[in-house]
């Protein structure tokens, strides 16, 4: 019974997705660079591209959300990224590898943007490149609202609204089973409390760290899930941004180091059971370990999520590599399957991050035994 439903669903999706392509005009001559498309979707950007359609004159019309650019360069400058993307023409350059690339400038403002980095223009209104193809112009401080920043605000707001609504249902008359959204949130919170916090930190001290663990868990989970939605406001690959995971891992490291008790530091500087002669080796190893463990947390989350996005994009790009719509019959089911796996990975990575954070905190507050 389930098998036939699943098959029917998959075939329906494949046929539905093939239909619009049959009715459209023929493809343009230029081959699509799938690698460049993948990298563009993984990275952060100053504008949020929604879709591109071909208009009556066979030209391409882009529909995007132009996010504000905020620069600190002697003063605070705020302008819409529309001033880069659509008011000026692109300036072509030749990369050291011999390929053509382009960058956009806005002479009036005095800035240029190359590969989503903003630079100050030189006197001729252009960017200077060195031998390896890197830009040598000065950079203002870029505090723009980019795709990732927007997603940060959006998911924080979403989480805040969701959990506030759940909390509200507890603050009423007396004790009663959870009502409304709390019915969904409570089992998850109990799961984090029992299986992650109590199991790793211990009954006596887990309560102090619950807010941090809950925040880490929900925030990472919701951002992973948002990254899987292909249309705005999802799809910004926030957890696949190494600065974001660096900050999360740094938070874990700070919590661990600042709640370390005497026993913890004794383990680092005079590990029990180690002969004194070996201590000069053990102490640097332990000190590096304080940094290496959160570093692993950072890279694990970043690599898992980015790899998942790259796989889905590459599978979808199969259609464009071969240029014919018939490949959709292979590409779409595979992308769907990987997408389902990514849903599991979204939860699993949030769980692993939170569990390892709880483990490190547990090590830091453990009493001697």
């Amino acid at each position: 019974m389930l098998n036939t439903t699943l098959k029917a669903f998959v075939w329906m999706v494949v046929l539905l997705l093939s239909a619009p392509v049959f009715s459209s005009s023929s493809a343009e001559g230029e081959p699509v660079d799938v690698t460049e498309m993948i990298m563009h979707h993984i990275k952060d950007a100053h504008e949020w591209h929604v879709l591109t359609y071909t208009d009556d004159n066979d030209g391409k019309q882009h529909v995007s959300v132009h996010l504000p650019i905020i620069l600190i360069d002697g003063g605070i400058k705020v302008f819409s990224s529309k001033r880069f993307y659509h008011e000026e023409e692109a300036i072509e350059i030749l990369t050291p590898e011999g390929e053509t690339d382009h960058y956009l400038v806005n002479q009036e403002l005095g800035y240029g943007i190359f590969h989503e980095e903003i630079y100050k223009l030189n006197k001729a209104g252009l960017l200077d490149f060195d031998v390896e193809g890197h830009v040598t112009n000065a950079k203002p401080y870029d505090f723009s609202i980019t795709k990732n920043v927007f997603t940060l605000f959006f998911s924080s707001l979403l989480l805040f609204v969701l959990l506030k609504a759940a909390v509200k249902s507890y603050k009423s008359d007396g004790l009663h089973p959870p009502r409304g959204i709390a019915r969904f949130v409570e089992p998850i919170v109990v799961f984090v409390r029992d299986d992650i916090a109590k199991a790793n930190i211990g009954e006596a001290k887990y309560k102090k760290f619950m807010p941090f663990l809950l925040t880490a868990f929900f925030f990472i989970w919701i951002n992973n899930m948002l990254g899987l939605i292909p249309i705005i406001p999802g799809g910004a690959n926030l957890t696949g941004n190494i600065s974001f995971t660096l900050t999360l891992a740094a938070m874990t490291m700070l919590v661990t180091v600042f709640s370390g008790n005497k026993n913890y530091w004794k383990h680092i500087f005079s590990t029990p059971g180690v002969p004194v002669a070996l201590l000069p080796i053990m102490i640097p190893v332990e000190l590096v370990g304080i940094i290496a463990k959160p570093f692993a947390l950072m890279v694990r989350l970043f690599a898992n999520i980015t790899a998942g996005h790259i796989i889905v994009l590459a599978l979808t790009g199969i259609i464009f590599t071969f240029g014919s719509v018939a490949w959709a019959g292979l590409s779409i089911p595979m992308s769907l399957f990987i997408g389902v796996l990514e849903l599991l990975v979204a939860f699993l990575q949030a769980f692993i991050f939170t569990m390892l954070s709880a483990l490190f905190i547990g090590e830091a507050v453990a009493e001697e035994h």
Partner: protein
């Protein structure tokens, strides 16, 4: 840098290591669950945690491959 595509080969070898490691975890988890079905859920939790940790290490290798190539 070096032979073309060697970064991809390096990433592939890292993933090979992960596949072997996680395969062994899965196999011993299955054996344990068969021996003692009551402990199945604990074994499954431990299996998922170990798999995620090993996958983390493998992805270190993949990231280095991506950076080089």
């Amino acid at each position: 840098m070096g032979i073309t595509g060697i970064a991809a080969i390096g990433a592939g070898i890292a993933v090979l290591g992960a596949g072997l490691g996680i395969g062994r975890i899965g196999s011993s988890a299955m054996d344990a669950m068969a021996r003692q079905p009551e402990a199945a859920s604990k074994i499954q939790t431990g299996m998922i945690i170990s798999a995620a940790l090993i996958e983390g290490v493998a992805l270190f290798g993949v990231v280095v491959g991506l950076l080089q190539g």
